[in-house]
Symmetry: C2
Subunit: 146 residues, 2 copies
Protein backbone atom coordinates (compact mmCIF):
# COMPACT_ATOMS: atom_id res chain seq x y z
CA UNK A 1 0.00 0.00 0.00
CA UNK A 2 2.69 2.39 1.03
CA UNK A 3 4.69 1.89 -2.12
CA UNK A 4 1.80 2.65 -4.43
CA UNK A 5 0.90 5.64 -2.31
CA UNK A 6 4.42 6.99 -2.55
CA UNK A 7 4.35 6.64 -6.32
CA UNK A 8 1.02 8.42 -6.48
CA UNK A 9 2.24 11.18 -4.20
CA UNK A 10 5.22 11.83 -6.44
CA UNK A 11 2.95 11.94 -9.45
CA UNK A 12 0.59 14.37 -7.73
CA UNK A 13 3.37 16.63 -6.50
CA UNK A 14 4.71 16.76 -10.01
CA UNK A 15 1.39 17.63 -11.62
CA UNK A 16 -0.73 19.61 -9.20
CA UNK A 17 0.10 22.52 -7.00
CA UNK A 18 0.04 20.89 -3.63
CA UNK A 19 -0.03 23.35 -0.78
CA UNK A 20 -0.76 21.30 2.30
CA UNK A 21 -0.78 17.73 3.49
CA UNK A 22 -4.51 18.06 3.99
CA UNK A 23 -4.94 18.93 0.33
CA UNK A 24 -2.73 16.02 -0.64
CA UNK A 25 -4.83 13.80 1.58
CA UNK A 26 -7.94 14.86 -0.33
CA UNK A 27 -6.27 14.26 -3.68
CA UNK A 28 -5.35 10.76 -2.59
CA UNK A 29 -8.82 10.16 -1.19
CA UNK A 30 -10.31 11.15 -4.56
CA UNK A 31 -8.20 8.35 -6.00
CA UNK A 32 -9.35 5.83 -3.46
CA UNK A 33 -6.39 6.02 -1.11
CA UNK A 34 -7.61 7.04 2.29
CA UNK A 35 -4.93 7.88 4.82
CA UNK A 36 -4.49 10.48 7.53
CA UNK A 37 -2.31 13.56 7.62
CA UNK A 38 0.04 11.80 10.02
CA UNK A 39 0.81 9.19 7.41
CA UNK A 40 1.40 11.82 4.76
CA UNK A 41 3.77 13.67 7.04
CA UNK A 42 5.81 10.47 7.23
CA UNK A 43 5.54 9.82 3.51
CA UNK A 44 6.77 13.29 2.67
CA UNK A 45 9.71 12.87 4.96
CA UNK A 46 10.55 9.46 3.49
CA UNK A 47 10.32 10.76 -0.06
CA UNK A 48 12.50 13.73 0.82
CA UNK A 49 10.02 16.19 -0.62
CA UNK A 50 10.72 19.83 0.02
CA UNK A 51 8.42 22.70 0.71
CA UNK A 52 9.03 26.10 -0.76
CA UNK A 53 6.60 28.62 0.61
CA UNK A 54 3.15 27.21 -0.01
CA UNK A 55 4.08 24.41 -2.39
CA UNK A 56 5.64 20.99 -2.21
CA UNK A 57 8.34 20.20 -4.74
CA UNK A 58 10.36 17.20 -5.78
CA UNK A 59 13.93 17.35 -4.55
CA UNK A 60 16.66 18.15 -7.03
CA UNK A 61 18.85 15.25 -8.02
CA UNK A 62 21.74 16.75 -6.06
CA UNK A 63 19.66 16.35 -2.95
CA UNK A 64 19.20 12.64 -3.34
CA UNK A 65 22.05 11.32 -5.46
CA UNK A 66 24.94 9.70 -3.67
CA UNK A 67 28.04 11.77 -4.43
CA UNK A 68 30.15 9.53 -6.70
CA UNK A 69 33.12 10.39 -4.57
CA UNK A 70 31.65 8.44 -1.71
CA UNK A 71 30.90 5.33 -3.69
CA UNK A 72 34.33 5.39 -5.33
CA UNK A 73 36.61 6.31 -2.45
CA UNK A 74 35.27 4.58 0.61
CA UNK A 75 36.84 1.17 1.12
CA UNK A 76 35.75 0.38 4.62
CA UNK A 77 33.09 1.23 7.17
CA UNK A 78 32.92 0.24 10.80
CA UNK A 79 31.88 1.59 14.16
CA UNK A 80 32.48 1.32 17.89
CA UNK A 81 29.89 2.57 20.34
CA UNK A 82 28.75 5.86 18.79
CA UNK A 83 31.70 6.59 16.53
CA UNK A 84 31.64 5.50 12.91
CA UNK A 85 34.90 5.07 11.03
CA UNK A 86 35.26 5.46 7.28
CA UNK A 87 38.38 4.05 5.67
CA UNK A 88 39.12 5.82 2.41
CA UNK A 89 41.63 5.55 -0.38
CA UNK A 90 44.88 7.33 0.53
CA UNK A 91 44.52 11.09 0.60
CA UNK A 92 40.78 11.02 -0.04
CA UNK A 93 39.40 11.41 3.45
CA UNK A 94 39.07 15.18 3.42
CA UNK A 95 37.19 15.23 0.12
CA UNK A 96 34.99 12.33 1.08
CA UNK A 97 34.26 13.97 4.40
CA UNK A 98 33.18 17.18 2.68
CA UNK A 99 30.91 15.22 0.35
CA UNK A 100 29.54 13.30 3.29
CA UNK A 101 28.88 16.45 5.26
CA UNK A 102 26.92 17.71 2.29
CA UNK A 103 24.53 14.80 2.63
CA UNK A 104 23.34 16.05 6.01
CA UNK A 105 22.84 12.58 7.38
CA UNK A 106 20.68 12.44 10.45
CA UNK A 107 22.08 12.15 13.97
CA UNK A 108 25.58 13.15 12.97
CA UNK A 109 27.11 15.23 15.74
CA UNK A 110 30.36 15.96 13.95
CA UNK A 111 32.99 14.67 11.57
CA UNK A 112 36.78 14.72 11.53
CA UNK A 113 38.94 13.72 8.58
CA UNK A 114 42.61 12.74 8.46
CA UNK A 115 44.35 11.48 5.35
CA UNK A 116 42.56 8.19 4.79
CA UNK A 117 40.28 7.97 7.82
CA UNK A 118 37.15 9.78 8.91
CA UNK A 119 35.58 9.69 12.33
CA UNK A 120 31.88 10.42 12.47
CA UNK A 121 30.47 11.01 15.90
CA UNK A 122 26.86 9.92 16.05
CA UNK A 123 24.29 10.88 18.64
CA UNK A 124 24.05 7.37 20.08
CA UNK A 125 25.29 3.82 19.65
CA UNK A 126 21.94 2.94 18.16
CA UNK A 127 22.37 5.69 15.58
CA UNK A 128 25.86 4.49 14.71
CA UNK A 129 24.70 0.91 14.22
CA UNK A 130 21.75 1.96 12.09
CA UNK A 131 23.92 4.27 10.06
CA UNK A 132 26.55 1.65 9.28
CA UNK A 133 23.88 -0.81 8.28
CA UNK A 134 21.99 1.61 6.03
CA UNK A 135 24.89 3.54 4.63
CA UNK A 136 26.95 0.44 4.05
CA UNK A 137 24.16 -0.97 1.96
CA UNK A 138 23.96 2.19 -0.09
CA UNK A 139 27.62 2.73 -0.57
CA UNK A 140 28.73 -0.79 -1.35
CA UNK A 141 25.72 -1.88 -3.36
CA UNK A 142 27.02 -0.24 -6.53
CA UNK A 143 30.36 -1.92 -6.41
CA UNK A 144 29.50 -5.56 -5.74
CA UNK A 145 30.62 -7.22 -2.49
CA UNK A 146 34.08 -6.15 -1.60
Amino acid sequence: MKKERHALILELIRTVKTETQEQLRELLADRGMTVTQATLSRDISELGLIKQGDRYLLPEKRDIALPPLLAGSVIGLDYAVNTVVFRCKAGMAMAVCAAFDGMHYKNVVGTLAGDDTIFVLMRSEKDAAAFVKDFGTIIFSEKGDE
Copy 2:
Protein backbone atom coordinates in the same frame (compact mmCIF):
# COMPACT_ATOMS: atom_id res chain seq x y z
CA MET B 1 17.23 46.58 9.00
CA LYS B 2 15.38 44.08 6.92
CA LYS B 3 17.99 44.03 4.19
CA GLU B 4 20.86 43.29 6.56
CA ARG B 5 18.78 40.68 8.26
CA HIS B 6 18.02 38.97 4.97
CA ALA B 7 21.71 38.88 4.16
CA LEU B 8 22.53 37.43 7.54
CA ILE B 9 19.78 34.85 7.23
CA LEU B 10 21.17 33.65 3.91
CA GLU B 11 24.62 33.41 5.44
CA LEU B 12 23.31 31.45 8.40
CA ILE B 13 21.25 29.07 6.29
CA ARG B 14 24.30 28.40 4.21
CA THR B 15 26.58 27.67 7.15
CA VAL B 16 24.58 26.20 10.00
CA LYS B 17 21.97 23.50 10.06
CA THR B 18 18.88 25.53 10.68
CA GLU B 19 15.93 23.44 11.70
CA THR B 20 13.31 25.90 12.88
CA GLN B 21 12.48 29.55 12.73
CA GLU B 22 12.88 29.67 16.47
CA GLN B 23 16.45 28.42 16.15
CA LEU B 24 17.11 30.97 13.44
CA ARG B 25 15.69 33.62 15.72
CA GLU B 26 18.19 32.65 18.41
CA LEU B 27 21.07 32.70 15.96
CA LEU B 28 20.11 36.19 14.88
CA ALA B 29 19.66 37.28 18.49
CA ASP B 30 23.18 36.07 19.25
CA ARG B 31 24.31 38.45 16.55
CA GLY B 32 22.36 41.35 17.92
CA MET B 33 19.34 41.16 15.63
CA THR B 34 16.27 40.64 17.72
CA VAL B 35 13.10 39.83 15.82
CA THR B 36 10.14 37.55 16.33
CA GLN B 37 9.24 34.31 14.62
CA ALA B 38 6.51 36.12 12.71
CA THR B 39 9.09 38.30 11.03
CA LEU B 40 11.26 35.34 10.17
CA SER B 41 8.33 33.55 8.65
CA ARG B 42 7.95 36.52 6.32
CA ASP B 43 11.67 36.76 5.66
CA ILE B 44 11.87 33.12 4.70
CA SER B 45 8.98 33.50 2.35
CA GLU B 46 10.50 36.61 0.77
CA LEU B 47 13.87 34.95 0.34
CA GLY B 48 12.24 31.89 -1.21
CA LEU B 49 14.00 29.54 1.16
CA ILE B 50 12.89 25.96 1.08
CA LYS B 51 12.50 23.43 3.82
CA GLN B 52 13.46 19.83 3.31
CA GLY B 53 12.49 17.76 6.29
CA ASP B 54 14.06 19.40 9.30
CA ARG B 55 16.40 21.77 7.52
CA TYR B 56 16.15 25.04 5.63
CA LEU B 57 18.03 25.27 2.36
CA LEU B 58 18.82 27.90 -0.20
CA PRO B 59 16.76 27.52 -3.34
CA GLU B 60 18.44 26.10 -6.39
CA LYS B 61 19.10 28.51 -9.19
CA ARG B 62 16.42 26.86 -11.28
CA ASP B 63 13.91 27.94 -8.69
CA ILE B 64 14.74 31.60 -8.96
CA ALA B 65 16.30 32.18 -12.36
CA LEU B 66 14.08 33.48 -15.11
CA PRO B 67 13.93 30.84 -17.82
CA PRO B 68 15.92 32.35 -20.73
CA LEU B 69 13.11 31.34 -23.01
CA LEU B 70 10.86 33.89 -21.39
CA ALA B 71 13.27 36.77 -21.64
CA GLY B 72 14.11 35.92 -25.24
CA SER B 73 10.73 35.10 -26.70
CA VAL B 74 8.22 37.45 -25.13
CA ILE B 75 7.75 40.61 -27.14
CA GLY B 76 4.69 42.05 -25.54
CA LEU B 77 2.69 41.99 -22.34
CA ASP B 78 -0.69 43.49 -21.62
CA TYR B 79 -3.86 42.80 -19.72
CA ALA B 80 -7.59 43.52 -19.63
CA VAL B 81 -9.54 43.05 -16.43
CA ASN B 82 -8.15 39.80 -15.03
CA THR B 83 -6.65 38.29 -18.18
CA VAL B 84 -3.01 38.86 -19.04
CA VAL B 85 -1.85 38.50 -22.64
CA PHE B 86 1.68 37.54 -23.65
CA ARG B 87 2.71 38.21 -27.21
CA CYS B 88 5.53 35.88 -28.25
CA LYS B 89 7.70 35.35 -31.26
CA ALA B 90 5.91 33.25 -33.89
CA GLY B 91 5.53 29.62 -32.88
CA MET B 92 6.97 30.18 -29.41
CA ALA B 93 3.83 30.53 -27.33
CA MET B 94 3.54 26.88 -26.34
CA ALA B 95 7.13 26.64 -25.15
CA VAL B 96 7.00 29.97 -23.36
CA CYS B 97 3.76 28.96 -21.72
CA ALA B 98 5.30 25.75 -20.42
CA ALA B 99 8.26 27.68 -19.04
CA PHE B 100 5.94 30.20 -17.50
CA ASP B 101 3.82 27.50 -15.89
CA GLY B 102 7.01 26.17 -14.36
CA MET B 103 7.51 29.42 -12.55
CA HIS B 104 4.36 28.87 -10.51
CA TYR B 105 3.50 32.53 -10.37
CA LYS B 106 0.99 33.44 -7.70
CA ASN B 107 -2.68 34.02 -8.40
CA VAL B 108 -2.60 32.34 -11.80
CA VAL B 109 -5.84 30.49 -12.35
CA GLY B 110 -4.89 29.01 -15.70
CA THR B 111 -3.00 29.51 -18.94
CA LEU B 112 -3.78 28.84 -22.59
CA ALA B 113 -1.29 29.07 -25.45
CA GLY B 114 -1.86 29.44 -29.18
CA ASP B 115 0.92 29.96 -31.70
CA ASP B 116 2.20 33.37 -30.67
CA THR B 117 -0.21 34.37 -27.92
CA ILE B 118 -0.79 33.26 -24.38
CA PHE B 119 -3.74 34.07 -22.20
CA VAL B 120 -3.16 33.96 -18.47
CA LEU B 121 -6.25 34.11 -16.34
CA MET B 122 -5.49 35.77 -13.02
CA ARG B 123 -7.56 35.63 -9.86
CA SER B 124 -8.53 39.30 -10.00
CA GLU B 125 -7.99 42.49 -11.91
CA LYS B 126 -5.71 43.66 -9.15
CA ASP B 127 -3.59 40.55 -9.55
CA ALA B 128 -3.38 41.04 -13.32
CA ALA B 129 -2.29 44.65 -12.95
CA ALA B 130 0.32 43.79 -10.35
CA PHE B 131 1.56 40.89 -12.40
CA VAL B 132 2.02 42.92 -15.57
CA LYS B 133 3.83 45.59 -13.63
CA ASP B 134 6.18 43.22 -11.81
CA PHE B 135 6.69 40.67 -14.50
CA GLY B 136 7.13 43.28 -17.19
CA THR B 137 9.93 44.82 -15.19
CA ILE B 138 11.63 41.47 -14.79
CA ILE B 139 11.23 40.29 -18.32
CA PHE B 140 12.12 43.47 -20.17
CA SER B 141 14.83 44.71 -17.86
CA GLU B 142 17.47 42.48 -19.46
CA LYS B 143 16.79 43.69 -22.95
CA GLY B 144 16.72 47.45 -22.56
CA ASP B 145 13.56 49.43 -23.41
CA GLU B 146 11.85 47.97 -26.40
